[in-house]
């Protein structure tokens, strides 16, 4: 963003050949800079195309109507229309959306509440064996979810939690807690210690100091964590397809529905409907990613890399 464009750099008195008696060295330097800027732009376009092109294909396909158009690899071959989207919602996809929204929402709220308490304790309160605690949290984040599938499946069957929202958001919360704790510990630790001290001198209890002073200050971090948790639980598939494989009326989530769309003929997937459903699921996420880009990145990097 701050790099000089070729035009700007010729205005720079240090580099402007006119001001220095037309030194050919400097002119060559200028040309090299221009080449570098163009090179970077080209490489950058490679990244953009790599990241975005498949999605462009997805949108174009979801808008195509009729077998011939759908089976044509040409991005611009019509006729285009919203028929696929209508078909998606006729398959009670809105119920899947509701389930996913509720499950991911409850997971996010639970995770933020429970996780920020724990993160604050680790960052600021005197507890013993912090390293042991953090290592165990790290170990939980390494657990393969599939290791939980057999016992939880049996337990959920006994308790009647199969095909319920609870049956999904409880394990999701437990599984996203480690990441939440990592992210939030970093954010809490960055808040100056004096603030809590000052609150205490003013007569606040440690708990009041936490929820009146520290928690509001950590709000950006909490928000970043919340977005990340929401995205992760919105996208989860293994547990969702094991514990709530059918019935959009009850608890089947969006990814399970998308994976399960089948055509009239076996082995033939209805490409139009699936791509439309994929777009419906992804657009909100992309908007979230674009708006909160900075926060997501800071949250992710706080959780992933120290510093």
């Amino acid at each position: 963003m701050t790099a000089p464009t070729p035009v700007e750099s010729t205005r720079d008195p240090e580099l402007d050949p006119e001001l220095h008696g037309g030194s050919s060295d400097l002119r060559r330097l200028n040309r090299r800079r221009a080449a570098q800027v163009w090179g970077k732009t080209a490489l950058l376009s490679v990244i953009m195309v790599w990241c975005l092109f498949p999605f462009v294909w997805l949108i174009s396909t979801s808008l195509k109507q009729g077998d011939r158009a759908l089976n044509s690899p040409n991005l611009f071959e019509g006729p285009f229309g919203l028929g696929n989207y209508r078909a998606v919602f006729e398959q009670s996809f809105h119920l899947n959306l509701r389930n996913s929204l509720m499950i991911a929402g409850v997971t996010t709220i639970l995770c933020v509440i429970v996780g920020s308490l724990c993160a604050y304790a680790i960052a600021r309160l005197p507890i013993k064996r912090k390293i042991l605690l953090l290592s165990s949290v790290l170990a939980v984040s390494l657990f393969p979810p599939v290791a939980l599938v057999p016992p939880l499946y049996e337990l959920w069957r006994t308790l009647g939690l199969l095909n319920t929202w609870e049956g999904l958001y409880i394990p999701y919360t437990a599984f996203t807690l480690p990441l939440t704790i990592f992210i939030l510990t970093t954010f809490f630790a960055a808040i100056p210690k004096d603030l809590a001290e000052a609150a205490k001198i003013d007569g606040a209890t440690p708990f009041q100091a936490f929820y009146k002073i520290i928690f509001p200050l950590a709000a950006p971090g909490v928000f970043a964590a919340a977005i990340i948790i929401f995205v992760l639980s919105w996208n989860e598939f293994l547990l969702a397809s094991t514990f709530a494989p059918r019935n959009p009326e009850i608890a089947q989530t969006v990814p399970v529905a998308i994976a399960g769309f089948t055509g009239a003929v076996e082995f033939q997937r209805p490409i139009g409907t699936i791509t439309a459903a994929c777009v419906v699921v992804t657009i909100p996420m992309i908007i979230v990613a674009l708006i909160f880009q900075r926060r997501i990145v800071s949250g992710l990097t706080a959780g992933g890399v120290k510093g």
Binding site: T41, P54, C118, T173, W234, I274, I286
Partner: protein, 317 residues
């Protein structure tokens, strides 16, 4: 002592060592910090042990029993493990999981490093690129899987058309099916790796490079002698998370091939025995083996990372 003269004193009642009892401040202190710390961490610990730790132990117990049609038949010792380890399907899925992990993590690392180095330089449009890089990350894996399923398909055969391959059946034969799945995974996660590495790159101060330049180090020398060593923590974190994630892969092969053509992963195999061919004992034995494998590899990484990661967090500047 009828209680009329003594005011209630929450400070001394909660009493968990909150400092001098008689002092006026202790009265207003409420819970001590130590007690608060314990209360604050207990819900997390309870939830994680209840949903993560306890089931793992239970899975081990389950795995020691023999089942017929979901009904326990009796204690079988390690019978289920013998069955699992002598099942060729287990070895096939283990092989696929390892091949998938090794190739996708390597490719993601190389591509991600390239992206990160590029984005670490100052130029116009860095913000836009960073936003674009998040998009594969927010797309649900199932959506990515469907997308690449169609793109690798014979009809409409987008990839075949672009590269003029005619009716080449990517997803219909072993080898190329695995390649397609690995490719989809690399597409989805290389940008994420780039993000983690970029965060690491930005912590390297510029003067280190300047002095490297002064000492006459070329770009390659600067990369191998300055960037890589200083980036080590970020690299290890990225590799740790990606390796563990790749070892538990489920969504991509499940949607793209349903495990056909030698693309069944360990997670898919476990899920198969738990839900579709109900044999809780065998399923639990397989999940325990998977658990031990993944955690073992994870622990090796954490060791390599040293206590650096954990201690760094605790001090948390």
């Amino acid at each position: 002592m009828t209680g009329t003269s003594v005011a209630p004193d929450p400070g001394t009642r909660s009493g968990a060592g909150g400092g001098g009892r008689g002092s006026p401040r202790a009265v207003r202190q409420g819970l001590s910090e130590k007690a608060l710390g314990r209360i604050f961490i207990s819900p997390s610990i309870a939830l994680m042990s209840l949903v993560a730790l306890f089931p793992v132990i239970w899975a081990f117990v389950l795995s020691l029993y023999v089942y017929t049609r979901r009904q326990p038949e009796g204690f079988g010792g390690f019978d289920n493990y013998v069955t699992a380890l002598t099942n060729p399907r287990f070895w096939d899925s283990l092989q696929f999981t390892f091949v998938f992990t090794l190739s996708s993590v390597t490719l993601e690392f190389v591509i991600g490093m390239g992206f990160a180095l590029l984005m670490n330089q100052a130029f116009r449009g860095r913000g836009v690129t960073r936003a674009a890089i998040l998009i594969p990350w927010v797309i649900p894996t199932v959506v990515a899987a469907q997308m690449w399923f169609f793109m690798f398909n014979v009809t409409p055969g987008f990839i075949n058309t672009i590269f003029g391959l005619g009716n080449f059946n990517w997803l219909g034969q072993s080898g190329t099916a695995a390649f397609a799945i690995i490719f989809a995974d690399v597409w989805k996660t290389a940008p994420f790796v780039a993000l983690l590495l970029l965060a690491g790159l930005q912590t390297i101060p510029n003067d280190v490079y300047e002095s490297g330049k002064v000492d006459g180090a070329g770009p390659a020398a600067r990369f191998f002698h300055i960037t890589l060593p200083l980036l080590k923590p970020a690299i290890l974190v990225a590799l740790l998370f990606r390796t563990v994630d790749a070892l538990r892969v489920y969504d991509l092969p499940q949607v793209m091939t349903r495990g056909a053509f030698d693309t069944e992963s360990l997670s898919m195999l476990v899920q198969q025995y738990v839900v579709r061919t109900p044999n809780p004992g065998l399923g639990a034995a397989l999940s325990t083996i998977t658990f031990v494998l993944i955690l073992g590899i994870g622990i090796i990484f954490v060791r390599l990372l040293g206590r650096d990661l954990v201690i760094g967090r605790e001090e948390g500047k």
